[in-house]
């Protein structure tokens, strides 16, 4: 099968973040079209072993994880960070990502968001690590207004907008394009090049790959795929996989 050409869909904006060793920096203004996939893109990979293992049923293993989750959420609500936790976690070096526990990744991304906004400066967290190790307690400060505001904000989230003009309709056969930015995408590699069928129009959202989440508004489709078309013949009876895919990811068959 001839691959469709990569479509240049935009320039990488200035991420504006301070230089941090080991961190991926897109060069401002440069269009990158590459076939690089992050380690987080795990669908269909082999070798990770069993899903059900001892201790796997809890949301947290330790209390610091709950507090890290809360800090990350509050950083977003209060506008203290720059960039999204999800795309930033994908910038982690692959070995670090795989070795880090789930909330260690969240801690890392929260620190990065704060650094990139300039809310905290390089070295400030390290300095507090030293103070804690020397026996100083974590300071406490109460602000009932902030607590109430943050708690209330969590119950507010808008649904996707309505897609006004759609290129595809339910029942249409589509193929997932084989193009890719270096950087954030919500089109997993295991569906690229595969044919599927539009099942529904979910709404309208920003193309995640630019910005991220600063791209143009596009329709988002639910697309169904037969397992044979994704993974080949299996010992298991055929199953169906559904993904929600932005219009740019798709082309007509």
């Amino acid at each position: 099968m001839a691959l469709p050409p990569c479509r240049v869909i935009g320039a990488v904006p200035d991420c504006g973040c301070p230089e941090v060793p080991g961190l991926f920096h897109p060069r401002p203004g440069r269009v990158i079209v590459a076939r690089i996939d992050g380690i987080h893109d795990m669908g269909g990979m082999h070798g990770f072993g069993p899903v059900v293992v001892p201790g796997c049923d809890e949301a947290y293993e330790e209390q610091w994880e709950a507090r890290t989750f809360a800090m990350s959420t509050i950083v977003g609500i209060e506008g203290l960070g720059k960039g999204g936790g999800r795309p930033i976690r994908e910038e982690m070096e692959p070995e670090h990502y795989l070795h880090a526990s789930y909330y260690e990744r969240w801690l890392w991304s929260t620190e990065q968001r704060l650094l990139r906004k300039g809310t905290i400066a390089p070295g400030e967290v390290d300095a507090w690590v030293e103070r804690l190790l020397a026996g100083e307690p974590v300071p406490q400060r109460l602000d009932p207004g902030q607590a109430a505001r943050d708690r209330a904000a969590i119950s507010e989230e808008s649904p996707l907008g309505t897609a006004e003009e759609t290129r595809f309709s339910p029942g249409d056969r589509v193929r997932v394009r084989r193009w890719r930015h270096a950087g954030h995408t919500r089109c997993p590699r295991y569906v690229r090049g595969a044919e599927g069928e539009v099942a529904a129009v979910r709404g309208s959202d920003h193309l995640p790959d630019i910005g991220p989440y600063e791209g143009p508004l596009e329709p988002v489709y639910s697309v169904s795929f037969h397992s044979d078309d994704l993974f080949g013949v299996s010992d298991e009876r055929r199953w169906t996989v559904f993904l929600d895919l932005t219009e740019t990811y798709l082309e007509p068959v």
Binding site: D143, I154, L245
Partner: protein, 203 residues
Amino acid sequence: MSHSHSHGHDDVAVRAAALEALLVEKGLISTDAIDAVVDLYENDVGPQNGARVVARAWVDDAYRERLRANGTAAIAELGYGGFEGGTMVVVENTPEIHNVIVCTLCSCYPWPVLGLPPSWYKSSAYRARVVAEPRAVLGEFGLTLDPGVEVRVWDSTAEVRYLVLPLRPPGTESLSEEELASLVTRDSMVGTGVAINPAGVPA
């Protein structure tokens, strides 16, 4: 957990505490705001919410229709919504179809109705395998489906979150809505399990 840590485990805990100390010292985040968010997901937002949605759908056909037509709005009728639940789609199990949800790229999960995901949902193994060998993964949870059942896997790749509407167990006609809700497990709403059968008889 089976995974190793790149830093010592204690190092990460200390670093988390250091970040909290720094943000409190700067006056940016308060201790009670952190406590409030932790408390919210420990006590108010969890699978008990989704169980009420499912039980309502089991006893009220008109509600089930609204849930099919617009999951977000029907779930909001019971007062649930918010982060990671802006747009909700409810996928309904039938005797012929079994649904299961995943996020292969990260850990997208319907927080307002299920709370925060368990470790296995976020694990590399689940993310990698459930799209590629769903019956083998369901088998690890002790769930063996009839060979004729079609498995549908929903990979949450955009800002849509999924909730599985499990089958109502047989022999539950006389139970109240509240009693029915107590049969609805978290895993039955992810699709890695089924609702508790009070008679202990396979469906």
